[in-house]
Symmetry: C2
Subunit: 379 residues, 2 copies
């Protein structure tokens, strides 16, 4: 509030061109005056989530990234493989703002009491186009952060918290009593561990490296299975038998893992089977794919009977399906436990321009555990 | 009724031994006297459905089949690949009767009026253990065939008719308006075509050979896509756009076909998309796997957004889920249209002993279109 609000400010845009070039840039964009029920947020913290990377980088080949332009206004270009273009038809030529969620300072507010009440407050919001110096939002959609909570602490209070709570809620609503999570050492995975430990829910964590297993065990996780270990399938079957988990949320979305989970669930169930059924157990086994860390095709060897499903899982359709009161209950829990259960951690904080450096793209573009980046557009 | 009822009669049994040997034999089994509410059926016609082949042959390697024993009591042995044994643990050492459904003559009946009413009638039934010279069934579970209907005509009046009707019913209950079927030239596929033509439902038929496409077109099918043709994906997308089909029933269960169907559904939906969504279309796209004609792993390249599902579909859990009145309505339709919509065709009729010949096993073991075999245990 010390600086005057500029007439235009930078907004990050991602553009797929018809020739298969991806272009990412910072575009000067008019800063709108907030309407009566709106506020203008000076963005101070907005995370690069895996779901943002999908829109930001698309399926571009990261080995072809080049960065031109100036230090303040870098211009990133990269090639998109031809086979990926058909799925992008609808965004060709459409310059797209990026950034699902973030937090910042309300520097201007409309005339309504609700908007005025937020002036000078640090708020969090979800709604896209957050990778920008300024963002107008309806006052009703802003979450005022509790006193003593910084924008950085509140930047990730929607996507990961609601996704991890949504997994537990889906588990309950579909009649399961314990769950499996892959890429379990991620920010999201650690959050899910805190929820399950707090709520007494059985959670089988699947990780890809011994150090990730160690990390989760140090955080109190009881069942951790390392898919790189020789005894993985036997470890997993044991953990599934112990917890009774028959639903999994898979961040990888490729390779053999989803099928292995279903197979091990079936083996765990059959340990107690009284008689042979030619169709496998009658217990429904479900894997929901919510990420794409592994870009290979899903390879599912069906050795687990007929009572199974694999499908996509996405936060927003889930929230719509459960309805506003149920969704509001989830959001209230997040607000109450923002600094504990739902705390996020970042490896780096960068400016908008720094987010477009070759070094930063190579870092977050790997989508690795512990490589989460926070953008501070006010830098 | 001309012959006396023997004290023992032959029943086909399939046995998986701990050493990985499959053994199929005809075992003399006591013929029970029917209880008050039961009837004794002399079996005259029982089909070898794909679902029977799973129990009969298991995952045995058909190149290892040897047939010993005598002409009347052949003994089939074959090797089961080691990797398949874990899924068979519960049936090791358990000699299992086979044969889901069939029809025959009621030659003895219990004292109750319902049982007595069936004496001398030709009835159809489902319930397993039908590959036998005699089978006792509760009278209430027998379907008396209309006058003029032979046992051979009524032998397949449960599995294929209820499965094809169940697909249409699932389509409706899950909010879709048209459907896709693979291996569409099968007995089941032809039945589904008759249902959809009669009921005015859009059906996209996927076949693997030009002659199968020709066959279905001659039977009046409007949309037939040959997966061996170079323009398959484009043909399929066109048919999906024309029908609006967003649910598929897949008999193959392996390879890339299920994923291709989802991809083409998404492309068909996106033809009319107004704006780009990073998560793909919001329209749920579903493939239900109900068979295993292709024993390779399912290979799913996820290029169709997040609103999708692949899962197992099985007749009996479906019938349980919809409840008895709805299931009864389906059965009533089958009875009313048994010689038209729900007529089955067989390539061969064999005796029980002939069904265990190397030649017959090689024939039905391929699970090919047009290779359906009917067993007449009274021969």
């Amino acid at each position: 509030m010390n600086q005057p609000i500029p007439a235009t400010a930078l907004q990050l845009r991602s553009l797929v061109q018809a020739d298969g070039t991806l272009q990412i840039s910072l575009e000067p964009t008019p800063v709108p005056a907030p309407g009566p029920d709106e506020v203008l947020i000076q963005m101070q913290a907005t995370p690069i989530n895996p779901s943002d990377i999908g829109l930001l980088l698309g399926p571009a080949d990261l080995s072809t990234v080049t960065v031109g332009g100036s230090a303040d206004r870098p211009l990133v270009t990269a090639r998109i493989p031809e086979r990926a273009m058909p799925s992008l038809v609808a965004r060709v030529g459409e310059s797209m703002p990026v950034g699902n969620e973030g937090a910042g300072l309300v520097v201007a507010a409309g005339s309504s009491p609700a908007a005025q009440a937020l002036l000078g407050r640090t708020v969090a919001a979800i709604g896209g186009a957050m990778y920008a110096q300024y963002r107008v939002m309806p006052a009703a959609q802003c979450l005022p952060l509790p006193a003593g909570t910084t924008a950085a602490e509140g930047a990730s209070c929607f996507v990961n918290p609601l996704t991890s709570l949504g997994m537990v809620e889906t588990m309950k609503r579909e009649g399961h009593t314990a769950l499996v999570h892959t890429a379990a050492a991620s920010n999201l995975g650690q959050m899910l561990n805190r929820i399950c430990q707090k709520d007494g829910i059985g959670l089988v964590n699947i990780v890809r490296k011994p150090e990730q297993a160690t990390l989760l065990r140090e955080l109190g996780a009881q069942y951790v299975c390392d898919s790189s270990a020789p005894g993985f399938l036997s470890d997993l079957t044991g953990a599934l038998a112990a917890t009774g988990a028959t639903i999994a949320f898979d961040a990888t979305g490729g390779g053999t893992l989803a099928g292995q989970i279903l197979q091990c669930m079936e083996s765990a169930i059959n340990r107690n089977a009284k008689e042979y059924s030619r169709y496998g157990s009658a217990v429904h086994k479900q894997v929901y794919v919510y990420g794409s860390l592994d870009t290979r095709p899903l390879e599912i060897q069906r050795t687990f009977g007929m009572a199974w499903g694999v499908g996509g899982w996405l936060l927003f359709p889930f929230l719509q399906k459960i309805g506003e009161p149920a969704a509001q209950a989830l959001r209230a829990r997040v607000a109450a436990e923002l600094k504990t259960t739902f705390a996020s951690h970042y490896a780096r904080t960068v400016s908008l321009a720094e987010a477009l450096s070759a070094d930063a793209i190579a870092f977050y573009g790997q989508r690795n555990t512990g490589a989460k980046v926070l953008i501070d557009p006010s830098r």
